[in-house]
Amino acid sequence: MADHLANWFHPSLDWLAYTIAGAAGAALLLVVALMVAAVSMWLERKISARIQDRLGPTRVGGRYGWLQPLADGLKVLGKEDIIPAQADKLLFRAAPYLAYAAAFCTYMVLPFSGRWVALPLDSAVFMFLAVASLEVPAIILAGYASGSKYSLFGAMREAAQVVSYEIPLALCVVIPVMLAGTLSLSEIAEQQRGWLTSWLVFRNPFVCGAFFVFGICALAHTNRAPFDLPEAESELVAGFMTEYSGFRWVVFFMAEYAAMFAICGLGAILFLGGWNGPIPLTDLLGLRYDAGPLAGWLGDALGAINFIFKCFLGITCMIWMRWTLPRLRIDQVMSLCLKYCIPLATLMLAGCMLWQYAMPGGVVHTVGNAGHSHSPVAECTQHRPHAQRRLSNPLSGPGAPENSSLRQQPRLLLEATSVLLRGN
Amino acid sequence: MPMPANEPALLDMLKEQFAAAIQEADLSATDPWIQVAAEHLPAVAAFVRDHPQWRMEMLNCITGVDYWRDETTTANVDWQPHIELLYHLSSLARRSRLMLKVVLPRWKEGQVGQLPEVPTVSHIWRTAEWHEREVFDLVGVQFVGHPDLRRILCAEDWVGHPLRKDYQPPAEYRGIPIA
Amino acid sequence: MNPFTEPIGVTHYLCVGAVLMVCGMLCMFTKRNALGVLMGIELVLNAANVNLVAFGSSWLRADAARSIALDGQLLAMFVIVLAAAEAAVALAIVLCYYNTQATVDVDKASKLKG
């Protein structure tokens, strides 16, 4: 986009073109994030109402109350903005924006579709986790700066919770990364192109289990019930949000929904095929960029719809959980995450490794070619072109020697290991 | 069916144990009662709680009643001014009830403002702790030996004991007028 | 010369690193709170990381081939990982100290035995 824009400007104004392109992209993402928050809020109200035998919003914006989030937002904006006398004013003001920025910045690396990604980073998964973890200091900041004991409790709970769920979450994320052989979200999703069976969650039972653990940790990550301890209203009033009102409160609220969408997006890409539908519609219809830009764009749009649908499916599950389950206690959260999720995730990781070693081409292929396979490693490189491509990628630049040492990588590894062993 | 502890033997046993303490008693009434001297209350209470033929494990309620009379009284009553403490007990094991009655002067040694004193039973029944606080708060009886005798329903700095019959509500509390 | 139009070199990074380093040292000198000292150490380690990354970056010098390339990043990576470990141990020590001495004042930590 930036390059197209630059063509319209005088060369000396290239920087302006790039600025406009960057700002437009950021604005677009922001709009997406805000829309996501609004739709999620509406969904939350409607779904919770259904679960509780109510109707939910029915007035604002027609029969289904579409505009209720907007009305709520306007109402909250009109509220008095109170900063407690005991608060650390600067930090108190800064915290909600930091929280929202952390949630929002994850969208930066989240691919909505094949080419619809703000920053196609090579280490997108890692970047996602890193940026998402920034929400934690924001919450702690809010809890501390409020000058309220309830807020402080919320902050301490958040800190205790984060050290529990982050490890199993990361372990679960490692599994699809390992299977795909890349940290790039776009690449991982691309590898799941095809029918439903090519989604990573269906690759083997261990990934399926990892997806389950991922779901639990995602709930904990977004502070949603039954893990909403930092804002547990029954004991901590509203936890770290106790002293917030008006606009700043809304910002926290939107950060929660933005984070929900982001983590659901991560799950969708890592496990549920990203923007690829259960039926490879775009391939069947030929909606790819090699069939022309319009076809490619349509394919991307279709993919984005698919992806957003999956995200909202995840959000719906989260809402469903919230209105069904009571809240866990802090020691139960910690023991759940540390005592159950980490071993489970480790088991899934190990299981996945073994499975991949035994059947690198998947069950069907391995069983079908039982007689032909000699070396699992060889088969690995043979039947997983993506993995091969990833491995050879660093060398594909100009000047790289044709017969590189990379081909001897397994041997090198073995040598290094033996050196280590002998050294001891 | 609940049954009152109306066996005369029970009363005799009690009188034998605490000769001076039992002032009056009627175990055949609908609500059987024993009037106990104030200073012997804990001993009698512990006895009726623990003795297998009484077993009054539960203290249901402590009530302070201000029997008050002066020249302006219109009620047609004949009592001498005094305060009565009623301890309603019940036995779950024997399904019986008992009321201990303690008669106190309205003021200690007749000096107005000096609260009458009675030993606490909060170490015998835990529930007495709050009930005694309430009686102290509203009726104005000092429970000697109570671990934490503070007002419970009224504000900590409230003046007077509202359930005394001669209680005059203050005109205002911390600047808030009391209608 | 407009600094915003000039490209950035290794020197720029080194200057930032120097400032961070000095701030970290000052922090270590002046804070009496053990946690404050810990924060100073983190700053110093980060200053080193900035330099390492700058020396390894191929974007910051004209003769990019002579940079230490990935070595810089890898070293910085090990620094970060070990700094995290160091922070954990230091915090454990501080907590242990606090539990026995009821203070985190480093000036009072003059005994080896708790």
Binding site: S234, P326, R327 | D31, L86, R151 | -
Partner: protein, 401 residues
């Protein structure tokens, strides 16, 4: 400090932090009104919990000394405003005991009917509020929907939805309107599945069990010593219900009725087999049992209401009405306890020969139940405090009077 029995969860905490004084309430979402709990905490662990009450003190006993016994009935409504029928009944029976009145059998059946309906309504709030305290909002809405139906029935009966002034000394204020009994029956028919739903989302819910089982354990000895009554006492395994074990003037109302006392004796509840089983982690006298006892009592009360409808409609004539407004009281005292939903509600009336009592005393069940909170909360986690307070099902209107 040797615990009598070791509970399910034990926390060994090594990093000790500053103690903090946390004031829970009087404005707090989970203190069920204007209760204030002063908590001394070490991190998440509650070292001591001190209840402060009296924020809702309205001098009910003092007011009772100024009004005739008929005039005082609306004030009893305001004690436990979630179970006003039972409050009315306790007062009416005490006055009747003092005056030596006996009401007709038909009146008794009607009183049983409304009081047991009221018990269902009160327990619905009590159970779902515990769910709400643990962060489960949905059952709260379900229970309130059902309670609303009961309130509609009461509104048709006496015109009020909350403060009924219906059961009065001498009888009841009005006869049920035509078709009302049929409506009651319809309500009961559709009500049964709702209890099953509650069992699914709360009783057998693993998270709920983890949050309540083994929490706030009260031994029968401690409970009795604290004067805890009602579901709180029965949850400790003491089979004690004044509807069976009370004074004759009260128990004769229930003599003809078949119902079980929801208390675990000999290792099982009388409803065993028809209701979800007790989870292994639950300890007798914990929050889970208190909740469970209430749910069982809802079922028993529904059965009693069915019987009451039958018995009432079989009898001819009208229920008796109230005594005259300025009935003179004898120079005597009467104390009577009845089984209100929250526990044993006692009224003491001392007459001085005039129409106005010399002294009125209210023995509030929640007052005694709450006094045990200090004992129960010692050493629990902060998040357990709502689980304990919620399972006591207190109403501050009755505690503060």
């Amino acid at each position: 400090m040797q615990p009598e029995s070791v509970s399910a969860t034990q926390i060994e905490y090594d990093v000790q932090t500053e103690q903090m004084l946390l004031s829970m309430g009087p404005q707090h979402p989970s203190t069920h009104g204007v209760l204030r709990l002063a908590l001394r905490t070490d991190g998440e662990v509650v070292l001591a919990a001190m209840p402060h009450i009296g924020y809702l003190h309205r001098c009910a006993e003092k007011i009772g000394e100024k009004l005739t016994v008929r005039q005082f009935v609306p004030y009893t409504d305001r004690l436990d405003y979630l179970a006003a029928m039972n409050m009315n009944l306790g007062w009416a029976l005490t006055v009747e005991k003092l005056l030596g009145i006996e009401v007709s059998e038909k009146t008794m059946h009607l009183r049983v009917l409304v009081c047991e309906l009221d018990r269902i309504a009160s327990h619905l709030v009590g159970t779902c509020a515990l769910g709400l305290d643990l962060g489960s909002f949905t059952p709260f809405m379900w229970c309130f929907r059902e309670r609303e139906k009961i309130l509609n029935l009461f509104e048709a009966l006496c015109g009020a939805r909350m403060l009924y002034n219906y059961v009065v000394p001498g009888g009841v204020m009005a006869e049920p309107p035509r078709g009302w009994l049929e409506q009651c029956r319809q309500f009961l028919d559709q009500f049964q599945p709702v209890i099953e739903d509650l069992h699914v989302v709360l009783t057998t819910n693993d998270v709920f069990i983890r949050r309540t089982a083994g929490i706030g354990v009260l031994s029968p000895q401690t409970a009795i010593s604290y004067g805890c009554t009602g579901p709180v006492l029965r949850a400790t395994g003491v089979c004690w219900d004044l509807r069976r074990h009370g004074e004759p003037i009260y128990t004769r109302m229930y003599d003809d009725y078949q119902f079980h006392i929801a208390a675990q004796t000999d290792g099982r509840y009388p409803q065993h087999g028809r209701q979800p089983p007790v989870p292994g982690s639950a300890v007798l006298g914990d929050s889970w049992h208190r909740f469970y006892v209430r749910l069982l009592e809802i079922g028993e009360s529904a059965a009693v209401v069915r019987q009451a409808i039958d018995k009432y409609s079989r009898l001819k004539g009208a229920p008796s009405g109230p005594i005259p407004m300025r009935t003179k009281l004898p120079q005597a005292a009467a104390y009577l306890e009845t089984e209100a939903p929250k526990g044993q509600l006692g009224f003491l009336i001392i007459g001085d020969g005039s129409a106005v009592p010399w002294r009125v005393r209210i023995r509030s069940p929640s007052f005694c139940n709450l006094s045990a909170v200090e004992e129960m909360c010692r050493g629990c986690l902060l998040a357990d405090v709502p689980a304990i307070v919620g399972s006591l099902d207190i109403v501050l209107g009755e505690i503060d009077r």
